[in-house]
Every structure is written in structure tokens, then in C-alpha cells.
């Protein structure tokens, strides 16, 4: 069976060791983290992680969410399905430009994808692009023809669409559903 990609938003204490605690949990439950992005939130005591994993089905991921919630530095876990979340990733890529023609072509490609050229030297260009993995992958496939020298992705960050927030989920919905037979 093909595994599906799930996105988890996790609020955690901004403390030493929390990242390894969270990542170890995925490892010991047999999941590989496909993408991970961490940064502080508007509250400096709290960090937000966006974690993507491959799993067979949603009940499995919900079990994983419950395991995560048991970790004391974890405040909130929310499963963000792609239909209700905006997801973005930043990719920086350094491309070889052996001729002015190649350089122009890459600049044109960057324009089409609304990417930015953030560094230029006679033999290389660095392109920055923000988007979902699909778009970023498409640009990378085209750029690859010119020879990628180096590439770095930040991992996906995601937020729920609309006015709902992760805190509302914790305080209201999870609280309400907790322990009940919610399907």
C-alpha cells in the first residue's frame, strides 16, 4: 500500500533537548521524518515544529499524535490535512552558469516560478524559491539540466487556512473530544 504524507504542527517548550525528544519518538515508533522545520513563535518560550511523515492511514497518525502529546514539553499537536492548510518551503539552489546564455535561461526560469536570484558570480547563480514541494520540485527538475552545485531546503512550514488557530484546537476541540469515541 502506498504511504501518504501527513503534516503535523507541534507546539513545544523552547528548551534544550526537546527536539531530540520529539525526533526520537518518531524513530522508536518506526517513522522516518520526511521534513522538519522548527522556529520560535510569538511567545519566546514556545517553539513550533512542522513535521511531515509518511504513514499508512490517518488512524495511525492519530496514534502518533497521542504519543507526542504524552511528552511533557509538548503543548499541542495538530494534524493539518493539505486541504485545510497552506504549506510553504524555501529552497536555495546554487547553479553552474557556464555561459551568459545559460545564466539568462535560469533567470527566465526563476521569473516564471517567481523565484529570486539572490547571488551572482561569473560561474554560478543562487536562486531562492518559496512554494509547495510540487512547485519547487518542478523548478529543480528544470534547473538540474544546468547542473546543481548545491541545494538546501528548509522543510515545509504550514498554517491552517481561515481564522482557526492551533491554540483554539487545543483549548476547545481536543479538550472536548478527549477520551470520547470520536471517529
Amino acid at each position: 500500500m502506498e504511504k501518504l504524507r501527513y503534516t503535523l504542527a507541534v507546539l513545544v517548550d523552547n528548551e534544550a533537548g526537546v527536539l531530540s525528544q520529539v525526533s526520537r519518538l518518531f524513530a522508536r515508533k518506526g517513522y522516518n521524518i520526511e521534513s522538519l522545520a522548527v522556529g520560535t513563535t510569538d511567545d519566546p518560550q514556545v517553539s513550533r515544529m512542522t513535521i511531515e511523515v509518511l504513514a499508512d492511514n490517518e488512524p495511525q497518525v492519530r496514534l502518533l499524535c497521542n504519543q507526542l502529546r504524552k511528552l511533557f514539553p509538548v503543548h499541542t499537536v495538530k494534524l493539518l490535512s493539505p486541504s485545510v492548510a497552506v504549506r510553504r518551503e524555501l529552497v536555495l539552489v546554487k547553479v553552474a552558469t557556464e555561459s551568459p546564455a545559460a545564466r539568462n535561461e535560469i533567470i527566465q526560469l526563476a521569473n516564471v516560478f517567481r523565484a529570486n536570484i539572490i547571488d551572482v558570480t561569473p560561474s554560478a547563480l543562487t536562486v531562492a524559491v518559496v512554494g509547495e514541494e510540487g512547485k519547487n520540485d518542478a523548478l529543480m527538475n528544470l534547473i538540474e539540466l544546468h547542473g546543481i552545485k548545491e541545494l538546501v531546503r528548509t522543510g515545509v512550514v504550514a498554517l491552517e487556512r481561515g481564522a482557526a488557530t492551533i491554540d483554539e484546537e487545543t483549548k476547545v476541540k481536543d479538550e472536548f473530544d478527549y477520551g470520547k469515541n470520536v471517529r
Binding site: 531530540s20 525528544q21 496514534l63 497521542n66 502529546r69 469515541n181
Partner: protein, 568 residues
């Protein structure tokens, strides 16, 4: 008032009502031990022969009293020697606070003498752990650690304190236990939507749904798991089972959660479960699982486990729901509270034909008693005859563990101390020490096999030093019996490395530690030895010679359907 970190640690233990700790001193924890010297009339410290023994003793103390056990150890090897003990407590949800000290802040991260990252090592086997850098953090951390260890699903917590934090001074104010949740880290933790600190109140609609399922059911079965023991819900369960007239199968961790002499019990369930228990799982129409995680030793094959029945899971830990077996209904909450609510609502039922069917199968294995040779069954029966009814039994792991779980009847929570989840050989003697020092009026037996006993028999030194009257009974078959049983049945009798003939003389070993010992090979001698041992009032070792091909019956192989017995 200003106190050193070491004194703050001990003051905080007193705040928690701790009067007994187990441990082993060493370089980095010296400040704490130095302070302990002034507290020795209020905190009784038992120094074991090895840190692992101290860990198991604190665990045995916690399991038998229901209170939080405390264990101290130094840095480096002192702390890594705790690891098996911590994992044992973690797998069986036993509340123990482990306090270790690490090298000072100026030495940390430099591969200093006896330095190790113990918070990193114990991350997956503790509920949570702490690295404390300074004395002013100590009181807050210790208060939170105790609250976490005992709340929700209990479990071990580790606090690693840098040596400088035990020497420097900080402000300390006494804070009564009932005030602590309103202050500091604990208040922050409780202010969050953390459900792990307070058991959720069961949902009444879900309770009513279960009441309706019970009313409809013709063939209900209850599984009593470790949660009933940890939650001390045995009285509520007795009322519940009698009210709905349902047979009760007991997991190894559930022993004592339901009176072993109650006619409704079908005995143990699972790999070495009774025919009655396992057949009942296979034919019930409603399975009510109380505080059990359906481990692979119970639900051997999750796909066929009670597949014909509606399965209802009651657990305090929401992450256990549907983890191993898919359930039809669940209630998250403290099993004691859930049972109280159920008892207020369920109608009296009678299930005569169902009980006739279930109890048509044996609830206990029958053994032939031919010949003079001493058998495991005879030993268990003699123990039951001679030892007081409320004797606490601590076991190690292997055949003897199954025999005494099957043939001894446990009547109250905390009566059987056994490493059911982690299966740690060498658990028993430490656990027995923890149980005996907390229950001086009760008889405590350490029942072990020769393989397990050799792992931590060094704790006989502790038994002798503190003159703790624990009777060790060795099921001595000169082999690693459980592994041999698998080799006989599953591995074509290829006895690879299980033979441990030419063993030490356990009687002389006991004598070397200053204890009495006796080797017996028939029932009469065993009875005499046990009577003498119990009357002696000191530690005593009885070495029982049994045949190496005695087997634990019945047996279902791991992964097979629960009624597919390969031995009966």
C-alpha cells in the same frame, strides 16, 4: 532560608513524605550523601550492592506501597547501572523518582571522569527527565518530578543534578504537598491542556453506551490488567464482575487486581494463560479490557484476538487506545472512576450457560504428581499452604515466574511484584527488599530460578547487612528453563548455551553472605526448610532441585491464535 542544593533535595523529599530511599554513593553525589548524614533519623537510606539492585528496590517499594519510590545514584556508571531498573519501572508503569548527580558545570561536556549524558540515555524510558544546573531550580523541579511520576499513568522520572548545584546555596521555603500544584513549573504544566497530570472524567455518554453493550451481551468477559493494580480498583472490579456475572481473566500485571480465589476468575490469560481464559477470549461476545495494553504476550495474534467479540478498552492513557488491538468502544479515564460509574448504572445479570461453558475448561493446569522428585507445582502448593495468605511474592523472570503466577492466588494489589513488561531477570531480590522494608509485618518471598538468581544474587549482601528477613526460593533446574522449553518445542532440542550445570553451591553462597541456606529435593524437606526459614526471622536461601525438563503449561506460541496450544 538559604540551604545548599544537597539539603534542598532532602527537604523536598521530606515534603513528599519520603522516609525510605535506596541508593549507592559516589563522587559526584557526595554532597547529597553528606547532607543525608544529618537527615538519617528522618530518611532511612538502604545502600545496595549494586545500583541496579537499588533501582529494583525502589520499584518494588513503589509497587507494593502504591507510593513513589526513590533511588539515588552517582554519575557515570552509577547512573547507567540504573538503566535496566528504569526501563523495568517504565514498562510496568511504576512510579519511581531517580536522582543522579553529574559532574560539575566546569567539567560537563569534557568527557570528564564518570561523566555520562544520562538524561539522553534515559529519554525513551522515563516519563520525563531533567538536567538541573543550579540549586535555585531544584525545589521546583523535584516537586514537578514527583507529581509527574505519580499522576495519570504512573512511571519513572529521572533528575540529573550537576555537582555544583548540590554545593551552592539557594533560597528554600517549605511548601506543603497540597500547595505545590499552585506554584512554579507545576502550575504552568497544569495550566496547559495537559491531560497527563489529571485523569479525565469519563464521558457519561460513553459509559452509558458501555452499559447498553453489557445489557445486550450474553457472553461477557473481563480482562483485569495492570491498570487495576496501579489504580487500586480491586474493590470496584469485584463488585462489577459479580454484578454483570462475567468471568475475569487476569494478565500477569493484573495479578492481585481481582481476588485470585474468586470463583469468577479464569486465571491467567495469554501465552501461558489457562485453557478457560484463552477459550473465553475466543468465544465471548463482549470483551471488557481494563487497564491493559494487549501486549504481544496477551493478544498473541492481534488480528484473531477476540475477533468475534465487541472489544471495549478502558485505559487512563489515551495513546494505548487502539495501539495493539482495534477496539469497538473505549473509555479514557481512571479505571477506578470508570468502574464506580459503571457500578452505579449496570443491572444485575446472570450468565449461567456462558459460565458453564467457560468453567468447563480448566482454570489451572493439572500436573501429574507421580514419583518422589520435587515439582514446581508441589513447591507452589507448599508455599501456599505454609506461608501466610497475604505473603508478598517478588519474582524474577522465566519459568518460575509463570509457575508462581499460575498457582499462587493473589488477593490484593501489590502482592505480586514481577517484571511483566520488560522481563528483567534479576528484578526479584531488589524488589523483595523494597517490599519487605515497607511491609515489615508481612512475609516476603523472593521466588527465582537459578538463571535469574545469578544475575543479582549480590543483593544477598544487602539482605544480610540490614538483616532483612527475605526467604529466597530457587527453582533450580540447572538450565535456563524457559529458553530450554522453547528450544525443546520450537528449536528441535538444540540446546544452545542454556545449560548452566556446574553452578555455584547456593547453600555455601548464602553462608558466604552470612545467611542460612538449605538444598532440598523432596516436598517434605522443602516444607521443613520453608517453615524453618520463616521462623528464623533472617534472610534464608532454599535451593530446590527440580527436573530440567519441567515445562510451563499450557503454552501458545507468540503470534499464534490464542487457543492454538502447543502444550496443554
Amino acid at each position: 532560608m538559604k540551604l545548599t542544593g544537597a539539603r534542598i533535595v532532602l527537604e523536598c523529599l521530606l515534603e513528599q513524605g519520603v522516609d525510605t530511599v535506596f541508593g549507592y554513593p559516589g563522587g559526584t553525589i557526595l554532597n547529597v550523601y553528606d547532607a543525608l548524614y544529618d537527615y538519617r533519623d528522618r530518611i532511612k537510606h538502604y545502600r545496595t550492592a549494586h545500583e541496579q539492585g537499588a533501582a529494583h528496590a525502589a520499584d518494588g517499594y513503589a509497587r507494593s506501597t502504591g507510593k513513589v519510590g526513590v533511588c539515588l545514584a552517582t554519575s557515570g556508571p552509577g547512573s547507567t547501572n540504573l538503566v535496566t531498573g528504569i526501563a523495568t519501572a517504565s514498562m510496568d508503569s511504576s512510579p519511581v523518582v531517580f536522582i543522579t548527580c553529574n559532574v560539575g558545570e566546569n567539567l560537563i561536556g569534557k568527557d570528564s571522569f564518570q561523566e555520562v549524558d544520562i538524561t539522553g540515555i534515559t529519554m525513551p524510558i522515563t516519563k520525563c527527565n531533567y538536567l538541573v544546573h543550579h540549586a535555585d531550580e531544584l525545589a521546583d523541579v523535584i516537586r514537578e518530578a514527583f507529581a509527574i511520576a505519580r499522576s495519570g499513568r504512573p512511571g519513572p522520572v529521572l533528575i540529573d543534578i550537576l555537582k555544583n548545584a548540590t554545593a551552592e546555596e539557594a533560597d528554600y521555603e517549605f511548601m506543603p504537598l497540597e500547595e505545590q500544584h499552585r506554584h512554579g513549573r507545576l502550575a504552568l504544566l497544569l495550566g496547559r491542556s495537559s491531560h497527563d497530570m489529571t485523569a479525565p472524567e469519563p464521558d457519561l455518554a460513553d459509559i452509558d453506551a458501555l452499559v447498553a453493550m453489557i445489557a445486550e451481551s450474553q457472553k461477557p468477559l473481563i480482562i483485569c490488567g495492570g491498570g487495576v493494580v496501579r489504580g487500586r480498583a480491586h474493590e470496584e472490579l469485584a463488585i462489577f464482575a459479580e454484578r454483570i456475572d462475567a468471568p475475569v481473566a487476569i494478565t500477569i500485571m493484573g495479578a492481585g487486581g481481582f481476588n485470585g480465589r474468586n470463583p469468577l476468575t479464569t486465571g491467567m490469560i495469554g501465552m501461558h494463560g489457562s485453557m478457560a481464559s484463552n477459550q473465553a477470549v475466543d468465544s465471548c461476545d463482549l470483551l471488557i479490557a481494563l487497564g491493559t495494553r494487549f501486549s504481544d504476550r496477551v493478544a498473541l495474534d492481534p488480528a484473531t484476538f477476540a475477533a468475534q467479540a465487541k472489544i471495549v478498552q478502558v485505559d487512563i492513557d489515551r495513546s494505548e487506545i487502539n495501539k495493539n488491538v482495534q477496539t469497538d468502544h473505549h473509555i479514557v479515564g481512571d479505571v477506578k472512576r470508570v468502574l464506580q460509574l459503571l457500578n452505579e448504572r449496570v443491572e444485575k445479570k446472570y450468565n449461567f450457560s456462558w459460565k458453564n461453558y467457560v468453567f468447563g475448561f480448566p482454570t489451572e493446569t493439572k500436573y501429574s504428581l507421580a514419583g518422589d522428585a520435587l515439582t514446581p507445582k508441589q513447591i507452589s502448593d507448599a508455599v501456599a499452604r505454609i506461608a501466610p495468605w497475604d505473603t508478598i511474592v517478588a519474582t524474577d523472570v522465566g519459568q518460575h515466574q509463570m509457575w508462581v503466577t499460575q498457582h499462587f492466588h493473589y488477593d490484593y494489589p501489590g502482592q505480586l511484584l514481577t517484571s511483566g513488561g520488560f522481563g528483567s531477570m534479576g528484578f526479584g531480590l531488589g524488589a523483595a527488599i523494597g517490599a519487605k522494608v515497607s511491609h515489615p509485618d508481612k512475609t516476603v518471598l523472593h521466588i527465582t530460578g537459578d538463571g535469574s538468581f545469578r544475575m543479582n544474587c549480590n543483593e544477598l549482601a544487602t539482605v544480610a547487612y540490614y538483616d532483612i528477613p527475605i526467604v529466597t526460593i530457587i527453582f533450580d533446574n540447572r538450565t535456563l528453563g524457559m529458553v530450554r522449553q522453547w528450544q525443546t518445542l520450537i528449536y528441535d532440542e538444540r540446546y544452545s548455551e542454556t545449560d548452566i550445570a556446574r553452578e555455584p553451591d547456593y547453600v555455601k553462597l548464602a553462608e558466604a553472605y552470612g545467611l542460612e541456606g538449605r538444598r532440598v529435593s523432596n516436598v517434605k524437606d522443602f516444607e521443613e526448610a520453608l517453615t524453618e526459614a520463616l521462623a528464623s526471622g533472617h534472610g534464608y536461601v532454599i535451593d530446590c532441585a527440580i527436573d530440567k525438563d519441567e515445562k510451563v503449561r499450557p503454552m501458545v506460541q507468540g503470534g499464534d491464535p490464542i487457543t492454538q496450544f502447543i502444550l496443554n
